[in-house]
Symmetry: C2
Subunit: 480 residues, 2 copies
């Protein structure tokens, strides 16, 4: 039987601001080991037995960025498909879209494995074993959850009560789902032994899932069918992408798969697991990935300390000094610094809400912005000038474009550029430069096999991103 | 009688790191009102009655920077002189050098007023009144201290015990100086009423001071005479600078004027003052210059808060977010962030010691470095490239120079540049650029009347400051 891991890459991770941002969310954050969660998740999924393809449900703005990560994770060996959402619409919608798609391509007997893009699983072989058990139960017609055996009385997760009187091969029938408990209740759950953390990972036979949706959440299924019928499919070699129609998708009920289906169905099972799972739900969870020193300090970056203990600092490129403080989280990024008490790590999300309310960019973007062709980083802005570092991927090309109000100086510091500047076309080698006058059509391209790095100095009276006229764009972007 | 304010600009202010650094010490720090202490001190000094000139004793590395500040403070109206130290040698040496110099130029009856460059005085007219009283006592042959009436039992200052049985016109004879007391003793001093904070400001008749040095610290005076005889004098219109001979100056005893003289002399008086004095001795003192909000937070910069109180943040250009923290000092600069508990503000100096021990630049320099001709700021460094913003003052010129290993691209973003590039000389207007090949002699000059701002992109295999050969330099700097 075919297995299709479905990576759900939806959330922003606003409790991990300022590193996690809307345009660079939690799955893309670098961990102390130099990898990110989405690469780890992809590799873990692709390594399972019997994988037909890896499907990803994500925001359409993250499509190119996600593809890049999979490429870096060695993704060429496995077929990939993408469901591209115009906006997040909760998990029932995402799971139902995936199910209908997979039923069409692989038939009702195929199995889907729902994974979160932003969870960490340390014991990958235990995970693979749990998947084997879950597939067996799914084949028998169960909707299978992965229940994490609790290590402490966590109050931030929902729990699954396993029905110990109904053992199944490799798991149990589920008695009920319970909401996040208070501490006292969580302690009782821990003592009882048959309560498990709800990890949000699932395994389904596609046909069973569609049937159960039909039975318990037919409104979701109907709206998703309508959305798919109006959506755009693009197909390539071992690659499929469906861009969901925004208007129809906006009509899908905004509900989680837990509420819509799992808590209602009578066919729910759980596979209890010890797989070293963490949802990296806050800076406290993140801090545990860095080893503590003798004073309980965990530092990812250059930190100097005078009588400070039990702090976590993440700072790349800038020095941090701590004097006489304890139990703090300090996270430093090029445009924002967070200082939070460890006991209040959950409240970081309130800062993100404030930024959104104020219309502040810092919830949305980093100084480095991803584009289909590479990245740009604004190094400095001042009156009448702006300086960017532009990295163009091998073979990639920016659109043929023109600016009315700004001139641009380009200096190649690494790699080779092919430049169209007005009527001329030229190759610029490392250490060479050119000047694009305002009003001149131009295009930048990397014809080489290594990254092209160039410094762009813009000068002019108006330097905003919206002063651009695009004439041709290989990524299908319209002007504006 | 002539009055010569002598501004002592010696200390680094390591408790105000990371804003205060060796090459940009406390007197140059911007206060929330947009001014700095050295400008305030200069203006306050120059505004006094009967000022013949303003003398400044400072490190020779800070000469141009200090002159720039005085120019901005409208310094053209008053004659200036500078004593340039090769290194700090405590206050007895600095005061004695000033005294001997002033005796030579103005004679024994001239009066000198010793001021610290890094103290804040809020009530300038009360200060001017106190100076009038002090001059009267100085004329009678007293060594006059300014005693600040204590507002609370401070344990960080030395105290002066006024002899209330010996009132003088405008002050008292001093009974004794006392070291920093413990809290209990400080409370007794406050209650007693005749104990005053030792502000480190003094007023002397030059001849009296030299006599007293002769009597109590003739070793200091002798070594300073020797230093002056070997030092270099440069004179211009209403301008005099003496560069002290390093070898001779190193032989002067390392002792404060308080120990060497004031605590020994029988001719010491004090003028009690209420002048709104603060030595801005720590980030706590600095924070009080910014108004508190309803939660006791004082913010100089863009700050977002979720349930945080009694914190101080200084951050220019970057967003700071505080979550659930209290009584913290957060100071953010382009290359370093400080997070300290308010009760431990004094301990910030230990971070500076650590930086020095580790040979880390962050105790010494900011990203923006002052030069006689203007400033440069390193915006970004990477493999094979470095980007600087260079500001050249009107009329100023960099040396004619050459680099072996790097090419430089210059782009003018504001103002006008005169450039020598190998055999050619040209004018570059705003938005124009040029390219200096490695091995080519070049010179950059600002022929205009506004600042020249340019972006320099260096590329090459070796980009350190020591790859420079200087051919001609109007500031007399040798190569290296």
């Amino acid at each position: 039987m075919k297995l299709i891991p479905v990576i759900m890459s939806g959330g922003v991770g606003s409790r991990l601001w300022p590193v996690s941002r809307e345009a660079h969310p939690k799955p893309f954050m670098l961990l102390p080991d130099g990898q990110n969660l989405i690469q780890k998740t992809f590799r873990r999924a692709a390594a399972l037995e019997g994988v037909a393809e890896v499907m990803t449900v994500t925001n359409r703005e993250l499509f190119f960025k996600t593809e890049d990560e999979y490429r870096l994770a060695g993704g060429g060996a496995v077929a990939q498909s993408f469901i591209l959402e115009p906006f997040g619409r909760n998990t029932a919608a995402a799971v139902a879209v995936a199910a209908l798609q997979l039923q069409e391509v692989y038939g009702a007997d195929a199995q889907m494995l729902i994974l979160a893009a932003d969870h960490l699983i340390k014991d990958e072989s235990a995970f693979a074993n749990a998947v084997v058990k879950a597939r067996q139960l799914a084949a028998e017609g169960w909707l299978v959850t992965f229940g994490i055996r609790p290590e402490y009385p966590e109050t931030g997760f929902g729990y699954i009560e396993a029905d110990q009187d109904t053992p199944l091969a490799g798991g149990f029938k589920v008695n009920r789902f319970v909401e996040k408990p208070d501490l006292e209740t969580a302690k009782q759950y821990l003592a009882a032994g048959n309560y498990l953390w709800n990890s949000g990972m699932f395994c389904f036979r596609v046909g069973t899932l569609v049937e159960q949706f039909e039975a318990y959440a037919s409104d979701v299924l109907g709206a998703v069918r309508e959305t798919l019928s109006r959506s755009r499919l693009s197909e390539g070699h071992r690659h499929r992408a469906i861009t969901l129609d925004a208007e129809a998708f906006g009509e899908v009920p905004d509900i989680s798969v837990d509420y819509a289906l799992m808590e209602r169905s009578q066919r729910v099972a759980t596979v209890p697991c010890d797989i070293g799972w963490s949802d990296i739900g806050s800076w406290n969870a993140m801090s545990e990935l860095t080893e503590a020193d003798a004073n309980g300090n965990r530092f990812d970056g250059e930190v100097l300390v005078h009588q400070a203990s039990n702090n976590y600092v993440q700072s790349h490129g800038r020095l941090t000094a701590l004097v006489g403080v304890e139990n703090l989280i300090v996270v430093d990024t090029p445009d924002a610094v967070l200082v939070a008490h460890k006991d209040r790590a959950q409240d970081v999300k309130h800062i993100v809400s404030q930024l959104k309310r104020n219309g502040h960019d810092a919830h949305l973007l980093h100084r480095t912005v991803n584009r289909p062709w590479g990245t740009y980083t604004t190094l400095e802005e001042g009156e009448r000038f702006k300086i960017k570092r532009i990295v163009v991927k091998p073979g990639a090309s920016l659109s043929l474009q023109m600016h009315h109000h700004r001139s641009e100086h380009w200096i190649v510091v690494s790699g080779m550029a092919r430049v169209v500047n007005d009527e001329r076309e030229m190759l610029l080698d490392t250490n060479e430069s050119t000047f694009i006058r305002a009003g001149h059509k131009h295009r930048l391209e990397n014809p080489g096999v290594i990254d092209l790095v160039l410094i762009e100095v813009q000068s002019g009276d108006y330097l905003c991103e919206d002063d651009i006229v695009r004439f041709q764009d290989i990524y299908g972007r319209a002007n504006g």
